[in-house]
């Protein structure tokens, strides 16, 4: 029994080390000046002071502008798709009606349509409408990408709230909408926050559409901004890694804070079956 425990811990710790090493390397690289970075054998310890390095970089590079663009686009998309998701999920979770199965199927079907293929017809339409190279085009796309996920997540959270609560309120003469806003939504606020977080993360991380639809570097969002550091002949890896840390830390914090809810939202649909 004792020996099993030790093996368990050893395996877990080794796995964590292997999985974490690339992140360690990200941090170390971001804190090394180029002359340390480009030496062989590599140096495994950080050199620069993290606080001044990151603050200097934030001040002297365009990364703050990218973050602003990303937050604006993802924020608007998250707000819209969460609202759409609340109503859509409420409908699917609480009512029985004709066509519901088809609607659910349609929502799941969207997962089969990856961005790399979707981007061709979308580009075609947006080019006609003059939407290419606007942040508005990204907002529209991110609403579209996150709405199905928002509906699916929230359905799981709606399902977890007993129907009796509503039935009591209906008998008391409350309207459907009043019921939704005054009784149900406050009960599932953690679920709504988790869904919104997830939608935000997806939008913030998106690459293909941003890369294809945005040309001018004033409108760059985080994902394409960082990738733009890669040059054909020369790449400043220290800069890339510093920028990566700056744009990743807020998202990781968000993720870790809501981890529990995110996991329950994600697994509600697939596990219950």
């Amino acid at each position: 029994m004792k020996k099993n425990k030790i093996v368990s811990y050893l395996l877990t710790i080794i796995s964590c080390a292997v999985v974490f090493f690339p992140f360690y390397w990200l941090i170390v690289t971001s804190l090394q000046p180029l002359e340390v970075l480009y030496q062989w054998p590599p140096d495994f310890l950080p050199v620069n002071n993290p606080i001044t390095t990151y603050l200097d970089f934030l001040r002297n590079s365009e990364v703050a502008g990218w973050i602003l663009n990303s937050v604006l686009v993802s924020g608007v998309a998250t707000l819209v798709s969460t609202i759409l998701g609340v109503f859509g999920a409420y409908s699917i979770s609480r009512f029985k009606y004709r066509g519901k199965v088809a609607f659910i199927f349609l929502i799941l079907l969207t997962q089969m349509m990856p961005g790399a293929f979707l981007v061709i017809p979308i580009y075609f339409v947006f080019a006609q409408m003059g939407l290419v190279n606007t942040l508005f085009s990204l907002m529209l796309i991110y609403v579209a990408l996150t709405t199905p996920i928002s509906v699916w997540f929230l359905k799981g959270f709606f399902d977890s709230i007993p129907k009796e609560i509503e039935e009591a309120a209906i008998i008391d003469g409350s309207s459907r909408l009043g019921l939704l806003f005054r009784v149900i939504l406050p009960l599932m606020s953690p679920g709504i926050v988790a869904t919104a977080t997830w939608c935000f993360i997806i939008s913030y991380n998106e690459y293909v559409f941003a890369y294809t639809l945005i040309n001018s570097n004033k409108l760059w969002v985080v994902s394409i901004g960082i990738a733009s550091f890669i040059g054909e002949y020369y790449t400043d890896w220290s800069q890339i890694m510093t920028a990566s840390i700056i744009v990743t830390v807020p998202i990781v914090i968000l993720f870790m804070v809501f981890q529990r809810y995110l996991v329950s939202g994600l697994t509600a649909g697939s596990v219950k079956g």
């Binding site: 349509m113 990856p114 979308i122 339409v125 006609q128 709405t147 293909v208 990781v252 994600l266 697939s270």
Partner: protein, 298 residues
């Protein structure tokens, strides 16, 4: 409560906005892709709607081009490779996290970390780690003499694909683990206790209790992983851009390159359609093989 017999339009009104968004941005584009795939639309002239119908020429051109086999082979290797690796490692991590150990929240936080980080950042970290001159992974391999000094990960077609598969694994296993972990929690503890009394070893318990218990979760997960990896773009795009010599150009990459780099939107759309049909075919075969039988058993 009495069921209302009148037609109730409330649920339709509630779901209408979400469905409208999905319809406009997901369904309409599928039809548009079909439409574009039979035209010679080019990005440079597409704004003036200046293109002609050319029937199935795009499809035929792709099927007859020497690269077709190459692209399909790469796609199959990438899809099956990453699904199998992700499932196996995801299962391993799920089992680790399902044990009664201390500090579990910390271990879990680390083990699912790659899930939280933007995909672009994940790929760039690896691109730096496999850098041909200063990459730390090269250092690990050169040190014990496993590879020579002039070895490059992404210059060699086979190693390029292996590297991409590893990045893809590192990116997607956390999600697999989380879903499998949720599935593990639904398997009653009594089954394992009974098996212990009967003298079953851990391996037997895994084969005869864990795997059957995870059947439904696994089949949904594998299907999702397959569909996602057919459409995965960012990892290969940023790691190799499809190279060397198009050897890592999967359907998603090849479609994108043709549509946006070579500006042949129609040709790219045709390749995209082939990828979609590929993904659909896998889903149907898969459904027939695994999921249908299970639903009948239910």
């Amino acid at each position: 409560m009495k069921k209302r017999l009148l037609f109730n339009k409330e649920p339709y009104l509630f779901i209408a906005p979400a469905l409208l968004v999905i319809f406009i941005f997901m369904l309409v584009p599928i039809f548009l892709t079909v439409f574009l795939s039979v035209t010679d639309a080019n990005i440079l002239t597409v704004r003036n709607l200046d293109f002609d119908f050319i029937g199935f020429s795009n499809y035929l051109q792709f099927l007859r081009s020497g690269i077709f086999e190459n692209v399909v082979t790469s796609t199959i290797i990438f899809v099956f490779g990453s699904v199998i690796l992700t499932y196996v490692f995801g299962m391993y991590v799920a089992i680790l996290l399902n044990q009664a150990i201390r500090l579990k929240p910390i271990f879990r936080g680390i083990l699912i970390l790659p899930w939280a980080v933007p995909q672009v950042v994940l790929v760039l970290i690896w691109k730096w780690m496999v850098n041909p001159q200063y990459g730390v992974l090269k250092y690990f391999l050169v040190g014990p003499g496993l590879v020579s000094e002039d070895f490059t990960f992404l210059g060699n077609p086979n190693f390029a694909m292996i590297t991409i598969l590893i990045v893809s694994l590192w990116r997607s296993y956390p999600l697999a683990s989380v879903i499998l972990l949720a599935g593990l929690k639904t398997i009653p503890e009594e089954l394992y206790e009974a098996a212990s009394i009967d003298g079953a070893n851990p391996f037997q318990k895994f084969i005869f209790i864990t795997l059957p218990g995870l059947r439904y979760v696994s089949s949904v997960l594998v299907l999702l992983l397959t569909i996602w990896s057919v459409g995965n773009f960012v990892i290969i795009w940023l790691m190799t851009g499809g190279g060397p010599a198009d050897r890592t150009a999967v359907l998603a990459i090849y479609s994108y390159i043709n549509a946006f780099k070579f500006t042949k939107l129609g040709y790219g759309a045709a390749i995209g359609m082939i990828a979609l049909l590929f993904s659909l075919a896998i889903s149907i075969i898969y459904y027939r093989l695994f999921m249908q039988r299970q639903e009948q058993e239910k």
